[in-house]
């Protein structure tokens, strides 16, 4: 049971990292990214290819850097493109990555994928029980990314991003460099997706293009919507709830013998969709909505300090 829970927590961690990144791009900065899966795949493949020569730290940094660079270029397109069009461009990016991975087999192994990806801290793990190392590693990554993003959200940078999200014209009129801000936000989110991808690669040790389907993007959006757009803490709750529901429904058929596998799998996915619809109807702001920050939280009072 422990190892299974570990698997769950690692997968939740990957989903949470992806969700945090999307929450920063979309929730805080208002930039729709439907190409999430492309960045995750790019991160996973970079980590898988560069970890053998550079070590896992190098692989992970390279994954984050490459994803940040790709995000920068993609975000630059938003000079001319409004919200909806950026969404289309990002879908295109996701597809381009998938097709490149599938067809450039000299580099990516094509459809056969990449096996035997080296993992971090293997020497520290007791034989046959790598999970005891991977679990804290995954949680630490989530904590680190959460702290960085939460700090950014609370900083003046986060404040101006929200201003751009809510009214770009007004922010621009006040002299804020809207484009630069958007590019930065997109790049930071992209880097976090690269980290998520490398964790995925380290956990599975085998990656192939069929693992990176658009369902990853869908789960990320579900997590952000369920958690509350703009709220990092809400995102963690959202990602945790969704992944737990998806997995917990596996146990239904062991308990209820009446339902057979085929019916259950249809029911499971249907129930998750229904859950999201109900959530949107009953609680459109998400489980833990973005806090309404007031001016006095940011500025000292007359008495000084708090």
């Amino acid at each position: 049971m422990i190892a299974y829970l570990t698997t769950l927590i690692v997968l939740v961690s990957v989903a949470a990292l992806v969700g945090l990144a999307l929450n920063f791009q979309w929730g805080v900065a208002g930039l729709v990214n439907f190409g999430v899966v492309g960045f995750v795949a790019l991160g996973a493949y970079t980590a898988a290819l560069l970890s053998p020569p550079l070590g896992w730290v190098g692989g992970m940094i390279a994954a984050a850097t490459l994803c940040a660079i790709a995000s920068t270029f993609l975000a630059l397109l938003s000079i001319r493109l409004g919200d909806d069009y950026l969404a289309i461009v990002t879908i295109g990016f996701g597809e381009i990555v998938r097709i490149l991975l599938l067809n450039e087999d000299w580099l990516t192994g094509g459809a056969l994928g990449i096996p035997n990806i080296p993992r971090p801290f293997v020497s520290l793990a007791p034989a046959g029980n790598y999970d005891v190392v991977l679990l804290p590693f995954a949680l630490l990554l989530v904590a680190a990314v959460y702290l960085v993003l939460e700090t950014l959200v609370r900083s003046p940078f986060g404040r101006v991003l929200r201003a751009v999200r809510d009214d770009a014209t007004a922010a621009s009129a006040l002299g804020k460099p809207v484009l630069l801000l958007r590019v930065k936000a997109f790049a930071i989110g992209g880097a976090a997706m690269g980290v998520a991808g490398s964790l995925h690669a380290f956990y599975l040790t085998y990656i192939d293009p069929s693992q990176f389907t658009s369902i990853i993007t869908a789960y990320a959006f579900m997590a952000v919507i369920a958690g509350g757009r703009g709220s990092n803490t809400g995102l963690l709750i959202g990602a945790g709830t969704i992944m737990t529901l998806i997995e917990a429904t596996r146990f239904l058929k062991d308990v209820m013998q009446v339902i057979d596998g085929a019916q259950l799998s249809a029911l499971r996915l249907g129930a998750i969709g229904l859950g999201i619809v109900l959530l949107l109807i009953l609680r459109p702001q998400g489980l833990l909505p973005e806090p309404h920050r007031r001016a006095r939280e940011f500025f000292p009072t007359e008495k000084g300090g708090q």
Partner: protein
């Protein structure tokens, strides 16, 4: 108010779910001593979803037969747990993980689809349990398998030459190749070309395409445009349906040889296209030895009309049979121990037997047996690859499959 109430309800649901899981973890432990848990990861949803139900049914039937006859290892019963792979490697991996850690299974079998089998392989090997697959990619039995991986299916490299021999017997010399990019298909291309060259044929064009495309028009134009004698379509179901409709619309005359995974898929293809689109399409697939007594018995067991070709259900039937026999032979449920017994009970020499109850009795009596399964003769080489898979060549006429020959 309504919002607060709804939130409370959701909390109750989540808490309830958590509680309902708690006793389950214990019960799995409690069963450990008397029952022998075995598991399978099968597709019930997603692109390969149609294959799951029959494979599950076949495995359940064997488990019931073995248990009704008194179980194995001194009266212990088998208990089968099945997980949905959703046709997705990550979901297949968590399914395998759940089987290993929660249900404590000794076997993780099933595995329709190479990406799923490949993703789950590392964790099954790390747990020192046995993996049995019904998937073709060479990578599954490559590398260090600790002798724990067994393939109940033809290897990709065996499919290619079988296709070439069929094209040759149809007298199609100038051939184009239209192939989906996936690990199963990609590994058959080179062996196919080598066999074609040996038989004096020419491969004029190799067109690769990506899965899940919205349209296959340009690929079809490219492969059929040069008017080859035949086109070998290495496709799965959804893309083969789209491609053949495109070919029909375009009025191309080249003969089509497809894979059974696309052009048959347990009858799903014929249900998906009108008869005139399917007319005259040849297809090839590793098949159970349809004429063998063991297979005929299996069809009866499944309650299907005589002559039904179950492509994959026989494989899960055999997986459970072989597991039971090998455990009984090794007198152990330890993966490393009974995996060594697999070739002992499956390969010749020995008395051929296809009845699982009789075979178990013979093993208990210390006789050397050569088990013959429903899906194949179940003989393995030292890497765990199945030997002697036969291929079935059929043609679609008036909306029905007609068997032409069995190729080996």
């Amino acid at each position: 108010m309504t919002n607060a109430k709804a939130l409370l309800n959701r909390r109750h649901v989540v808490a309830g779910l958590g509680l309902s899981l708690a006793p389950f973890g214990r019960s799995a432990f409690a069963q450990g001593s008397s029952e022998i848990p075995i598991g399978m990861v099968l597709p019930f949803s997603g692109a390969t979803g149609p294959y799951g139900p029959d494979m599950k049914k076949a495995a359940e039937l064997v488990v019931k037969i073995v248990n009704d006859a008194g179980g194995i290892l001194g009266g212990r019963k088998l208990r089968l747990y099945v997980e949905d792979s959703e046709s997705n490697p990550t979901a297949g991996l968590t399914g395998a993980r759940k089987l290993l850690d929660v249900n404590k299974v000794e076997l993780v079998g099933g595995f329709w689809g190479s990406p799923i089998a490949l993703a789950a392989k590392p964790i099954i090997l790390a747990a020192n349990k046995v993996q049995m697959v019904s998937a073709s990619a060479n990578g599954i039995t490559d590398g260090d398998t600790k002798g724990l991986v067994y393939r109940f299916q033809a290897k990709s490299t065996q499919w290619g030459p079988a296709g070439a021999r069929i094209l040759n017997s149809l007298k199609l010399k100038k051939v184009a190749l239209l192939a989906q990019q996936n690990p199963f298909v990609i590994s058959m291309i080179e062996p196919f070309k080598a066999e074609m060259a040996k038989l004096g044929g020419v491969v004029t064009e190799t067109v690769l395409y990506n899965p899940d495309q919205a349209s296959y028009r340009s690929e079809v134009e490219k492969a059929f445009g040069s008017e080859p004698d035949g086109v070998f379509c290495l496709s799965l179901l959804t893309d083969f349906v789209a491609i053949t409709k495109e070919v029909y619309r375009g009025g191309f005359k080249s003969k089509i040889l497809g894979l059974g995974t696309g052009a048959d898929a347990d009858g799903a293809y014929l249900r998906s296209v009108p008869p005139e689109v399917a007319e005259g399409i040849h297809h090839v697939q590793p098949a159970p030895p349809l004429e063998s007594a063991a297979y005929k018995k299996f069809v009866k067991l499944m309650g299907a009309p005589e002559g039904t070709a179950f492509l994959f259900a026989g494989n899960t039937h055999d997986q459970v049979c072989v597991t039971a026999l090998a455990m009984e032979h090794a007198k152990s449920q330890e993966g490393a121990a009974w995996a060594k017994s697999i070739r002992e009970v499956c390969n010749p020499p020995g008395e051929e037997v296809d009845d699982i109850v009789k075979a178990l009795e013979m093993v208990r009596a210390g006789k050397k047996i050569n088990f013959v399964g429903a899906g194949a003769s179940v003989d393995f080489d030292e890497r765990g690859d199945q030997l002697n898979r036969s291929f079935l060549h059929q043609v679609i006429e008036k909306g029905k499959n007609r068997i032409i020959e069995v190729v080996t």
